[in-house]
Amino acid sequence: MSALTNTVSDSLVITRRNLIKVKRVPDLIVFATLSPIMFVLLFRYVFGGAINLPDGITYAEFLLPGIFAQTVVFGSTTTGASIAEDLQKGLIDRFRSLPMSRSAVLIGRTVADLGLNAISIVVMALTGLLVGWRINSSVPEAIGGFLILLVFAFAVSWMMALVGLLVRTPEVVNNASFIVIFPLTFVANTFVPLESFPSVLRTFAEWNPVSTVVQAARNLFGNQPDSVPVADAWSLQNPVLYTLIWAAVILAVFVPLAVRAYLGTAKR
């Protein structure tokens, strides 16, 4: 067998192992989907009235792509906590003593978490449809919208994998990633239009990849009517391209770093 087929088959074994945990601990999936549902309902009904939107778009349509993005980015933080847990329980040592592919443990982890994120998105989309969100685009565009959310989340998972390998304590990994993820998802166009931001934050928000993944999703789901202007920043004018560049750069940097950290976990 070639190295590539070995990597693929080992990664599948690990992905399957990670998904079995989801099956055995249904709370995981319940809570992973419950909080986005709660977010949808809270923002739609509690804050929705207070947020000013230009004519031509309902808050539900504006909101859902933002919730999708926030949820999958948060969902990716579980990658770090799960890897830290495996480290603590000695499973990473077990895997490292086996003649398996060197990247399979991390691939299997990030792919399983991608699967969880896909499930969350489906649940949120269904909830969204109930509260007035609509897809106003073609089927391929809508699929593109879901894909770009998942691609970006997959890249974030690899960042979190590195955090998990370096921090090593699941609870700390969670807190550490929230410190990074909260500002990224809130200083963005996730819940409110960028026009309402003070200027410095606004520039940050315009170039924040979370804003652009949200914008890309809005465009692809047809939740951005022509009557509503988008900020002039190049990032927001070309959100799909800009987001994909970010995802590619994150993967190019963090995949090798995470694999190296994985191989060196015991050196300390």
Binding site: V13, G90, L91, D93, P99, K267
Partner: protein
């Protein structure tokens, strides 16, 4: 010294490992001939786990070299992983997977086919008395069951060389006996084993040869008999009625001892290295009777590995503190060190 040669399945030469300023291994040499068991003994913090982790490619040494089945652990780590099985000091099983799933997963990662992984898993679960629990998540297993599952996992691909880091710690006596039989079977099938243990009886039972390390250095090596001979003499061991009597007995008998007597207040037991056999025993009894010391138990025995350990390291085998600090090390050991 390493005996070298192609018949050694494991060869370790001048192995050095530092953690920050702490030197965990300070030039360890050892060899395990093909198809034999080497017992690696030493008090807590001696460096046993560090040796095992370097040999199983989890850690990189700072100096020296090591080969497993003729493969260099530093430069041929991938091939080494294909021929070894590792049971680490702490059980590494996936709690959410069942027993069968755990073993199948490891089997698949050793590149066994689906069918083979499954049938090996079923065999091993049976062998380790886990058949009834095979379809339950390992989360529901007791500590001993996890331990057995962990060992089964390291055996799934029939490794040529097996590393067992304290394999029977936490097992009840029956499981321990079962494990010993199993290890003996593995050896008769040609598996080479390096095993660390805190149980000297276990090393005595299983190991063809032993290496004793302390603070990262080899301090003795040989068969159990050779080590015992190295310590020499016999041991006069007696249990007295009360703690004050223990001190009195120690004073009375000190002149009979070849070396500093060892007393334990908790068990009220006194151990003296002696020579002269029955005559010495009779003399001891006479003196104690004169001093009015109540004897609960008395006997003469050959030194066991505990004595070997104590004599060589100045600390008993199960003592927790590697630095020999007062908290967990009774005063008696300090006397023996000097």
């Amino acid at each position: 010294m390493s005996r070298g040669g192609s018949q050694d399945a494991v060869v370790v030469e001048g192995l050095v490992k530092r953690f920050g300023g702490n030197t965990a291994l300070d030039g360890v040499d050892l060899a395990v001939p093909e198809g034999t068991v080497l017992g690696l003994l030493g008090p807590n913090g001696a460096g046993k786990t560090t040796v095992v982790r370097i040999l199983s490619t989890l850690l990189q040494a700072d100096g020296g070299r090591a080969t497993v089945a003729g493969l260099d652990v530093a430069t041929q780590a991938d091939q080494v992983r294909g021929v070894i099985g590792l049971t680490g000091q702490y059980a590494a099983v996936d709690e959410y997977l069942t027993g069968v799933e755990n073993l199948e997963m490891v089997g698949r990662l050793y590149r066994l086919g689906k069918k083979e992984a499954r049938s090996r898993a079923v065999d091993l679960l049976d062998r380790f008395d886990l058949s009834d629990a095979a379809r339950r998540p390992a989360k529901t297993y007791s500590g001993g069951m996890r331990r057995r599952l962990d060992i089964a996992a390291s055996l799934i691909a029939r490794p040529r060389v097996l590393f067992l880091d304290e394999p029977t710690t936490g097992l009840d006596p029956r499981s321990r006996l079962g494990m010993w039989e199993f290890i003996a079977d593995l050896v008769s099938d040609g598996t080479t084993i390096l095993l660390t243990t805190q149980y000297l009886e276990e090393a005595d039972r299983l190991a063809d040869a032993m290496v004793v390390i302390d603070r990262g250095r080899v301090i003795a090596r040989g068969t159990a008999d050779e080590l015992k001979a190295q310590v020499g003499g016999e041991r006069l061991e007696l249990t007295v009625g009360s703690v004050p009597e223990l001190a009195r007995a120690t004073e009375e008998l000190r002149s009979l001892a070849l070396d500093e007597p060892r007393s334990d207040e908790q068990t009220r037991r006194l151990t003296l290295p002696v020579s002269g056999g029955a005559a010495t025993l009779a003399e001891a009894l006479r003196r104690l009777e004169q001093a009015g010391v109540t004897l609960l138990d008395v006997g003469l025995r050959r030194p066991d590995l505990d004595d070997v350990f104590l004599t060589l390291t100045g600390r008993p085998a199960e003592d927790a503190a590697p630095s020999g600090d007062g908290a967990s090390t009774p005063a008696r050991t300090e006397e023996t060190v000097r």
